[in-house]
Amino acid sequence: MAAQGATATRSGLRSALPLLAPAYLWLTVAIFLPLSAMVFFSFMTELSLSGKPWAFTLGNYAAFFSQSLYLTLLLASLRLGLEVTLWCIVIGYPAAYVLAKVLKGRSREAIFLLVILPFWSNGLVRIFSWAMVLREGGILDTALNAVLPFKINIDLMYSYPAVIIGLVHSYVPYMVLTCYLTLQAIDDSLIEAGRSLGATRLQVLKRIIIPLSMPGLVAGAALIFVPVVGSFMEPRILGGRTGTFYGTVIEDQFVAVFNWPLGAALSFILLAVVLVILAVASPVLRRAA
């Protein structure tokens, strides 16, 4: 029996191999190799494309701990990640609920299209269009002053809120999509059963809908949190004076001073911190689910 089972698995694997090979080949070439090269770089004293001598060192990792600057920025970036994720949940989850449970047919398709639409435009274009909206004398300022009876001055450009707005706009579709999938899978009869047994709407939400859609929420949060913590383009363009974050400092190391070893080391510290956060959070979230 056991031998038969093993053969079955093996032949299953063999027939699956042609299907898996392209993806794994691609992952090896496009992700594993460059990433291993970066791990290697992060332990070098100097990146020697020009044949200068170099040695192995832990100094790049030590640099993170020797200056308070990097830790301050890492905390600021983590806070940014949390805030953006939170806003994405606040905005994205109700939208996903309406899409999954309230709207049907054509109107659902139309709203869905509107949610996905930002994905079809280039990220940089989206950020620059926010610049036109948010600045003093920009679209938002002009429009509000045209409608309101009193004069207000809106200049959100080059500020922390501008960074949040830009990032939430870029990432909210992820939350809508992941939550939509899990919300749609909830059997309507469960909700009806809860209601007929006397649960209030709030209780149904708390005891049935949120727990059952938790996997989507968690997946969405992870998909958003990780890239936002490392983001550099949005803070740089929208943040102005306040737009220095962990991601922008890593970018500077690669672009401004050609210190790839330090840039790589800083990136892996970020990766480690994010993995630890996800590892600590996952049992808690699983229990909640």
Partner: protein
């Protein structure tokens, strides 16, 4: 039936593509430069292509480091590269650029001797860079915010302009700007603490850090800023080409001067075309047209500057001996200095958050 047909199709495509590549690479000059900086002007490319039969292919960089990285990672791709003289040393030491036979450049003799003889470009009697243009990193003002140009750099710290001041997001430029504001030699900063203190007090004034000409011009066009550090050629371009209310100010404390030069990378496949292109770039005809149509820094070619109208900014102001006394030319910077400057700059940016 199907397979042979596919093979034929694939072979035909391959042959066709390689034929195209061959034909294209015959006389291409690959140029690496800042975007919108002379070498990519369509009228100039058209004139050069018509005169020499070479096809110009432009590629761009956003920082000197990016330019060096592109040279390091693409050996043999580029034929001409524009390098700030302060980086020429490093590029030569890394064997990224080769000596240039200046006897092939008919315009080289007209380059002003102090630029052509610059120790930053000539090594062991060989020329590694042909001086092209020079200019200043000075201040530029939004003319709507000032009745008359401010004489001193101190205006950047003036509370009246709080939140309407910009500075480039570049550690070296920022530190050298701080050196000028504290009356020091930009190439030999003795009192770094003074520079740090001066820049720390500047940070609350700042609206944002600009990184490209486009950033600067957009902010002036929407009247968001009053004053900021800017490049002389860019200020000229903003006024001439984009019709913006921008004018350059050379403060009494001085300004940072830089010299841009053309080099030929090691492994260039079309050295002859590269020489022809560099010669065209330092030609007075090209320069006058560039200044008139677009706006440009000051040519290193004396005949080219002399061909400008007498009251032209690049001839009158930039050629003024009084200005020459105030400006300081950038010398090469070591990697260690650059990293120290970046650390200082990042600390300043974090402290102001």
């Amino acid at each position: 039936m199907r397979i042979p047909r596919l093979t034929i199709l694939l072979t035909a495509t391959a042959v066709f593509t390689s034929a195209l590549t061959l034909a294209a690479s015959a006389a291409e000059v690959h140029v690496l430069n800042w975007k919108g900086y002379g070498a990519d002007e369509p009228w100039a490319i058209a004139a050069f292509e018509k005169a020499t039969g070479n096809k110009v292919v432009n590629d761009f960089f956003n920082s000197e480091q990016e330019m060096l990285t592109k040279l390091r990672t693409n050996p043999g791709l580029y034929d001409v590269v524009m390098i700030n003289a302060a980086f020429n040393d490093q590029a030569m030491a890394e064997k990224l650029i080769q000596p240039i036979d200046v006897s092939k450049l008919s315009n080289y003799a007209d380059i002003s001797p102090d630029k052509a003889g610059s120790p930053m470009l000539d090594h062991d009697g060989k020329v590694y860079g042909v001086p092209w243009v020079w200019g200043l990193t000075a201040l530029a003002i939004n003319e709507k915010s000032f009745d008359k140009p401010p004489p001193s750099i101190a205006v950047m710290w003036d509370a009246a302009h709080k939140g309407r001041v910009v500075i480039r997001d570049d550690a070296v430029e920022a530190v050298q700007f701080g050196a000028i504001a504290t009356g020091q030699n930009i190439n030999d900063i003795k009192d770094m603490e003074a520079v740090k203190a001066k820049l720390t007090s500047l940070m609350p004034q700042i609206k944002t850090f600009w990184s490209s000409e486009n950033d600067w011009n957009q902010m002036v066009a929407s009247n968001q800023i009053d004053i900021g550090t800017y490049w002389s050629g860019s200020a000229d371009r903003a006024k001439t080409h984009f019709k913006l209310p921008v004018s350059l100010v050379i403060p009494q404390e001085g300004a940072v001067a830089w010299l841009d030069a053309f080099s030929i990378p090691v492994g260039s496949k079309n050295v002859e075309g590269a020489e022809a292109f560099i010669n065209y770039m330092i030609d007075p005809t090209f320069y006058v047209e560039w200044v008139t149509k677009v706006g440009a820094p000051v040519s290193a070619n004396t005949k080219a500057v002399a061909a400008l109208p007498e009251d032209a900014f690049n001839r009158k102001v930039m050629g003024d001996p009084e200005v020459a006394k105030r400006i300081q030319f950038q010398a090469p910077i070591t990697d260690a200095q650059r990293e120290a400057y970046l650390a200082l700059w990042q600390q300043l940016k974090v402290d102001v958050k």
